[in-house]
Amino acid sequence: MARADRSMERGEAFDDTYVESQVILTAVRLVAPFALTYGLFLSLHGADTPGGSFQGGAIIGVTILMLAFAFGIEPTREWLRNSVVTGLVAGGVAIFIGVGLATMALGGAFLEYRLFETILGIPDGTKWGMEAIEVGGIALIVAGVFIGLFFATAAGLHREGEEA
């Protein structure tokens, strides 16, 4: 569907609350790269330092919310397609289940990571298995759900008779 059509169908009342502010725009432009980097650091380095994918994923999600606050919710929604958000949320759950089922396929219990090391011969298999569900699972789910919650709440209740 063409973008213009999409925005017309979703011409909901919230976008008139947007006020362009130089202060907020500049602040978000400065802070967003650092926030995203910090979120990625927490996710990727959570195994050895405080933090982890839940916090990291939340901060990655909040980076998108900051952009939406600075540049307006509707332009950010146009830029961020629904398939990206759905992909993050569903993909995260799929990766988490996938890692769990992989260890079962290797003859062990759900998430019995040490089999990656003993059977597949991956060095530090337990650690990498944990990283896979942390970074590939939880971080994606949390970031996706927060972004999704934000845009769904901003769009509000969808009444019967409107186009979805």
Partner: protein, 178 residues
């Protein structure tokens, strides 16, 4: 209690009471974010950085944004009153509950007491502290407990977050997030 801890406890207490009392919802949300930030610093001072990060990211960050977004879609009641009128029976009930809870505080072990059961018990805390690195190869015991020792529980939590997203779509009667 150090002066820093004392200041933080007072700050958290004042912001919590202010959150309950402010009549204007926008003010209440902003004070509530300040409360979360105070709690996050307090957790850091008490050497619980993982909890502090969660409180700062979720409590002060995401919750505030979602609440602000929600009240942006409502109308603010016209009133010049700064504070909500205090509901006396409610105040009595809450004070009684707080008193009952506070009577348990003197029996709690001191902060950092090495003999406290939560720290010294050999089957849980000490087991994880001694075995985490050998068992899993990661240095953060909190991550090891969440992702390895209690991996299945964490899977349940992740699916709950997923289900929360789906439930929002259902409640809002939508089929797409963005």
């Amino acid at each position: 209690m150090t002066p820093l801890e004392g200041t933080l406890v007072v700050f958290v207490f004042v912001t919590a009471v202010a959150t309950a009392l402010f009549r204007d919802v926008l003010s209440a949300i902003i004070v509530f974010a300040a409360y979360s930030l105070g709690m996050a610093i307090l957790y850091t001072v008490l050497l619980a950085p993982d909890v502090a990060m969660t409180e700062a990211a979720i409590g002060a960050g995401v919750t505030s944004i979602l609440l602000l977004l929600t009240i942006a879609k409502t109308s603010r009641p016209a009133s010049d009153d700064l504070f909500e009128e205090i509901h006396v029976p409610g105040l009595i009930a809450v004070s009684a509950l707080a008193l009952v809870l506070l009577t348990t505080v003197p029996d709690a072990p001191a902060v950092g007491d090495p003999a406290a059961p939560v720290w010294s018990n050999p089957d849980v805390t000490q087991y994880y502290i001694q075995h985490t690195y050998d068992d899993t190869g990661v240095q953060n015991a909190v991550t090891a407990v969440l992702a390895a020792y209690r991996g299945f529980d964490t899977f349940g939590e992740a699916v709950v977050v997923f289900a929360a997203g789906m439930a929002t779509l259902l409640v809002l009667n939508r089929e797409v997030f963005a």
